[in-house]
Symmetry: C2
DNA sequence: CTGAAAGCGCTTACAG
DNA sequence: CTGAAAGCGCTTACAG
């Protein structure tokens, strides 16, 4: 006797003989025609049950759904996507999701899209533009209906290819006057300037910088240096480190930097992890933070507020970026294509969270 | 004059007229036949250039590649996958990637698979088993060639469905004697027991617990309580909190717990974030850690070592899990299906990182 | 090393 | 509300 476990193979075995002979491979699983046959309808009707149930008679709907349930049928979206030109896939190209704020963005981006019936194809590019470009081809081969990109520094050939494909694109985590399509981000340059401002207001005269050398960190650096230059401070000691940044890197870089610039009274670090490392090093050097040496990070990791109240940081809302990036794409996907001229840009801003000398 | 930007539309416009009329949609982009025509070969040869270049004559290869480059052709993997029954997709079902160690696992899992020509379909399930099950159907509709699952607590119907599909499956981040297929993880029960052991060795007699109520946290709790029971400690104060856990939750839960169990001398927290919150609360209550109150977390977040040296924690290697999960799947995918009886299980273990009283 | 034919499992557009 | 026909863009299996 068939057990509950073999529900799919009780009385539909006879169909096997009725199937047209396949020239390729063995039986690969259930097809829409199997469901149609059992339910006594045409394949088109089964298709409608999944894609436009409101256009199917209630009894038919119910009957087909029962067969689907009983057989355990799962539609093949490779076939569906090919046929309809709707992959229901959205690609996200991000440098990394580990130890980073991007993971929050991807989390909510994915949640928002999945509620709307899309799935996310995740592509991790590291921090190189060339790698991003070759990833794009891989990703485009799945025919995604939209793409999330990190940053705004892309090769011309990537921009061009994306334009040719004609799908909605959101750039995130940065800002520019010439987005490819849509954008949800903030200005790294302004962040650098704001941190410089913050240091200046508190009377610091010898600010230094520990930064990764990726595009966005370099934009923050530029804002930082420009604002300082306006205040007449031209020589800013700096240490550029390769991503990914970490506590360890911050810890060993600060002493190096201070050796070169002994009178440093403030350091802007490219990330909270670097800042935490710098703080540890400062402690070992007997420097009190922020009194003798102010340290500012970037990212506002949750734990930092609790564990390192001496650090200033810059808060950025990765969640808001993810939600809005998803919404922008969905608006375009649902809204019809005549909206394609309506570029959308959202600046989510940032907040400098200062620490007062205790 | 056509500029460089319109390379794809210089001299291949004439083909448009030669195309068979489509009954559906407009021209959707380049097809393999467009490349074939330009290169003067059959579509099959173009297909081979992508899928088995070694079987194509060098000159043919070169010629086709130039046309591909010039036209900017990207193969349609929806079609390719449908035709070949190889989607080149692997699905990963994870509760969350934000603020979590899972993000590391997914990072390296994705990197490893992408080097082997696979892409990752990311599905976020939250912490509910029913949500995991419905996600599975969504994911299976893409016909992935393998699946990564988080944990070992799955519904029967999910296990059965996966068995029917017959693709390789790796369960991760936990362990069991009855894996669905393959497994890379460690024992949460043993971790709980080890932490209890750690507390007992240091003479703690009133250990308590702050834990999330998800399956894995509950397994740690069981190990913790069982080991304590062996030592004659039966009544263990505990506070169960809903995921996701956070610093804030830890901070407000500890005082609550201590109000109920005043003589508590040690707390095992379900995560480092909870532990950091508990540490903050202890500080506010004027309790010295670890002298008056020992606190143990879980996860060994990188910053914790630097910023909260008073905390004990349990280190788990999420990276190793990701790499090996990917390898297990790839071995099965490449190794042929007769290896399907060879179950593979890897226990990556864990380390309790104690803090001595300072 | 290369190709003509058939098929992968769906959906569109049309008709009723 | 339902269905027969044609097609989506590839690849398999066979032949040469």
């Amino acid at each position: 006797m068939p057990t509950a476990k073999s529900a799919a193979s009780t009385d539909d075995r006879k169909d096997a003989a009725a199937r047209p002979k396949r020239t390729r491979g063995g039986p690969k699983g259930l097809r829409i025609t199997d469901v149609a046959a059992q339910a006594g309808v045409s394949p088109i009707t089964v298709s409608r049950v999944f894609n436009s149930p409101e256009s199917v008679a209630p009894e038919t709907l119910e009957r087909v759904r029962q067969v689907v349930q009983k057989l355990g049928y799962v539609p093949n979206r490779l076939a569906g996507g090919l046929s309809s030109s709707r992959s229901r896939l959205v690609a996200a190209i991000v440098p990394t999701i580990s130890h980073s704020l991007f993971s929050e963005t991807i989390q909510v981006f994915s949640e928002t899209l999945s509620r709307a019936g899309y799935e996310v194809l995740l592509a991790l590019s590291g921090y190189s533009a060339s790698s991003e470009e070759s990833l794009l081809d891989t990703v485009l081969s799945r025919r995604p209906e939209g793409v999330l990109l990190t940053g705004v520094a892309h090769t011309d050939s990537l921009r061009e290819r994306l334009a040719n494909v004609g799908i909605p694109v959101v750039e995130t985590w940065d800002t520019t006057h010439t987005p490819i399509d849509m954008l949800v981000g903030f200005s790294h340059y302004e962040i650098g300037a704001a941190v410089a401002e913050h240091f200046l207001e508190r009377g610091m005269r010898r600010p230094a910088l520990i930064s990764a050398n990726d595009m966005r960190a370099l934009a923050r650096r530029a804002g930082f240096r420009d604002r300082l230059a306006q205040a007449g401070i031209e020589d800013v000691a700096e240490a550029l480190v390769a991503p990914p940044s970490s506590v360890a890197v911050g810890k060993r870089t600060l002493p190096e930097l201070l050796a070169r610039a002994r009178d440093t009274d403030a350091v802007f670090c490219g990330s909270d992890l670097l800042a935490i490392g710098a703080l540890g090093a400062a402690r070992q050097l007997g420097l009190s933070v922020p009194t003798q040496l102010a340290i500012c990070g970037f990212g506002d990791l949750e734990f930092a507020t609790e564990t390192t109240p001496q650090l200033t940081t810059v808060r950025v809302d990765g969640t808001r970026i993810g939600v809005n990036a998803a919404r922008f794409l969905l608006d375009r996907l649902n809204g019809g294509s005549n909206a394609s001229d309506e570029r959308r840009v959202l600046d989510v801003g940032f907040t400098v969270l200062p620490r007062e000398s205790t």
